[in-house]
Symmetry: C3
Subunit: 346 residues, 3 copies
């Protein structure tokens, strides 16, 4: 794929400064870019590279001011980050491998339904009663259980497992090794303290446009459904327990865990290795820092940190003092002595 600065400006509704006929054939990070690649600057932290980069074209925010001339062509845009996303999208669409048809050996039950223009990779298994939409890409080594439904235009990467009875909406992407519908972790101790398994007869529902990271696990509900709403994005190695509900457009970074029956609102952002204990209610647009551990409900729009969780500013103020605790302790000892000598004053 070749793109000229003029074409890029057209796609992004931007303005060209420099030679509009320069072309590039790929993308690169600003610090690694070469003559036939395109780079971008959105984060001012990387400004210095603007004056060093070997790129052929750079996409830069209009609000930004160059402090010295640059030898390459600049395309000024409103939002360089979204601009590059758009171009990457165009590039990915043009260069995407068009897979379709069925490879052998694979196993598709004659009681399953598969839509049009699907790809079914070798060693994949589609159980009876499953319904697969149109334009679905099922890579090799995927397992789809009984009565599972998968909407249109989904991509299931190698090694995905979907247990029986679960539903996947349209436009979902499940990365390698993701597990949907494993049993919730439910046991009841008997009189000898042995745990008896509580059958998990519910399922998992992923609404449309959900992305599930590699080796992430979403457990089926004990009864009813574990629900992942439209547009949710889960990173790698995330754990979602039984009967959890995650609201629309919430994103969770890697190694996050949500315990049973908790309800997470819409538009939340959870940092890596964060966690929420069971039976809680987290509002909309809540942010958790990395490693936050939530043990109480959180209201809409708040940002929390620490474990047990605290509002971020309170946590930070306490942590500043924590860092100096030895000094504080020393000071208290001094005051104690001084008071002692004051008291012994005649």
């Amino acid at each position: 794929m070749e793109l000229s600065a003029r074409e890029i400006a057209t796609y992004l509704n931007g303005e060209v400064e420099g030679n509009p006929d320069v072309t590039v054939s790929g993308f690169a990070r600003i610090e690694q870019a070469t003559q036939d690649t395109l780079c971008f600057l959105a984060n001012p932290k990387y400004e210095e590279y603007l004056y060093k980069t070997g790129a052929g074209i750079a996409i830069v925010n209009k609000t930004f001011k160059l402090r010295q001339p640059v030898p390459y062509t600049v395309v000024w845009v409103d939002d360089a980050y979204r601009g590059i996303a758009t171009l990457l999208d165009i590039y990915a669409t043009l260069s995407a491998v068009q897979r379709s048809g069925r490879e052998y050996p694979s196993r598709v039950s004659w009681r399953a339904k598969v839509g049009k223009k699907c790809y079914i990779g070798a060693f994949s298994y589609i159980s009876r009663g499953a319904k697969i939409g149109n334009n679905v890409k099922i890579f090799p080594r995927v397992y789809i259980g009984r009565n599972v439904t998968v909407g249109d235009s989904c991509i299931l990467y190698p090694g995905v497992t979907i247990y029986s009875g679960c539903h996947v909406g349209s436009g979902c992407i499940l990365h390698a090794g993701a597990v949907v519908g494993s049993d919730g972790f439910g046991f009841a101790p008997d009189e000898n303290k042995r745990y008896k398994k509580i059958p998990q007869i519910g399922n998992v529902v992923l609404e449309d446009d959900v992305e599930v990271g590699a080796n992430t696990c979403i457990d089926r509900a004990t009864m009813g459904s574990t629900i992942i709403r439209r547009g949710v994005k889960l990173d790698n190695l995330v754990h979602i327990a039984h009967n959890v509900e995650v609201g629309q457009n919430t994103v969770m970074a890697a190694l996050t865990g949500i315990a049973g029956s908790s309800k997470i609102g819409e538009g939340c952002m959870f940092g890596g290795q964060s966690g929420v204990i069971g039976h809680l209610s987290i509002g909309n647009n809540v942010s958790l820092t990395a490693r936050a551990g939530v043990s109480s409900n959180i209201k809409d729009g708040e940002t929390h940190m620490g474990f047990p969780n605290m509002p971020i500013s309170a946590y930070r103020r306490s942590y500043v003092v924590f860092k100096n605790l030895p000094d504080l302790q020393k000071k208290v000892s001094q005051l104690e002595q001084e008071i002692g000598s004051l008291k012994s004053k005649p």
Copy 2:
């Protein structure tokens, strides 16, 4: 499956209040139940739903008192939670898919032994020297290494991998993507600070009735065995390192990690994202809160929190002060000033 209130009361040794001939055909959470479903109330937190639910039948603890009449049939029992578990069990048994026989293509070495009434799914691989008991369900895409033994009535879900030489007892359930017997993480630095792999020639032993969550990993011992005792339940994405021993009936929630050679007692309960460093000894009936990080031995029956771990009550008392550290610091500064002015008093 249809169940009447009368039948339910018989199964659970309970008492019917209302029409004993009402029938239900499924289970539901109390807040979502409809006329043909059954719900239960065990946690008083959800009491309000008792007066709103649309359920046909509710199972409620005898100790509970209704504050207003309800339009549905109540079955009063000693323990509603265990009652629902029993009913789910009956339901799950009746509705379980009876799989048996071997699907193709699958690969079973002629030097492996497979018991009676087993199911072997397509794309599964059973290596030479393996011995599989009776009534074992091996879903598609399972790998069983050389000389592995698997006891009776186990279920291995899609994508399970059992490395060579490991032993799985009877009645075990391994969820999708679980890995048993991967190499322990053992390396010795050479004179150039490069790490040389220490071969891991031990194995993993799972005793009977162990459940292993999705994508959980249990490493083989360097020498000897990593041992998971009878009745242990591991949630998803748990890591058990080489030479660890986990005592009977211990349960670990998701994303917990146990480092090498630590020995965990019986009847322990570890919260999600908790961890134990290597070479420690944790007693029986020890509880860890979520996110506890254990760096010292713990005696029988204690509950710990924080990292490094502290007894839960001590941790909580300290954390209360932590939350108010800025105030404490301010107070100390004030005292300092007051002492200063006291000292300068004539």
Copy 3:
């Protein structure tokens, strides 16, 4: 395999005390060793077992002094830990199963190249354009995407997935369920707060001698490469985000997560469940304790703990005071009262 004390001493350049003709046929932990097994003592913590063990031969550091006679043969060496590693290596090499050839059904594109003496297990899939070196062992159920390269003498265990365009050096070991090249977690919100996927068109490069633990995930770069340098060892369930670079001979224990674009130096050691947020620079030979959460750059050679991270000694000093915060608070209250009474003194 049988080894005499004399042979062992020759391999390890050690000295025999006792009968040099005693032979052993296996290895055991010192507390479990029997007459026909070999044990070792490197960690003085386990000294008591030296006088109880039933081993036929023990390998012990020359610097160590026996406090009482022992009934078995001792081989004195400079470094018992490295000695046992060497012997395990010899043992593992001699007893390694020599697999080669291709099992069926498996799928190897006619446009892929596979070197000499490789093993390709059943149900494995090698896509077009892939290049596999010599002596590579590809266990059953492995997926290798388009244009992937795998160097000589690698081992890919069951269930490994390598996405298209990634490169794996020579001598690498990837454990079961490891994922290399899944999409980085990159999304840009649109005007309706819906997240639009940013295509991830980069790849992952593993240099030589890298070991990747079971179910560990390494995401492909947005642009350019996520790079894991020579000799890096990653434990199970580790997450490496897009555009991260991990320096030579760095080791990371289980459940560690590194967020996007962070650069980790050489020779680092990261404890279990530790984490690094995005866009940071961590120096060479940095150590993180278990559960450390890094939110700021770290210089060469430092050891950090806590979240946000602090130098370990500072963290520990603060934590000592944290443990006694209720006492400190009480003392401050007492001082307050005493000052009050001092002030009210005439």
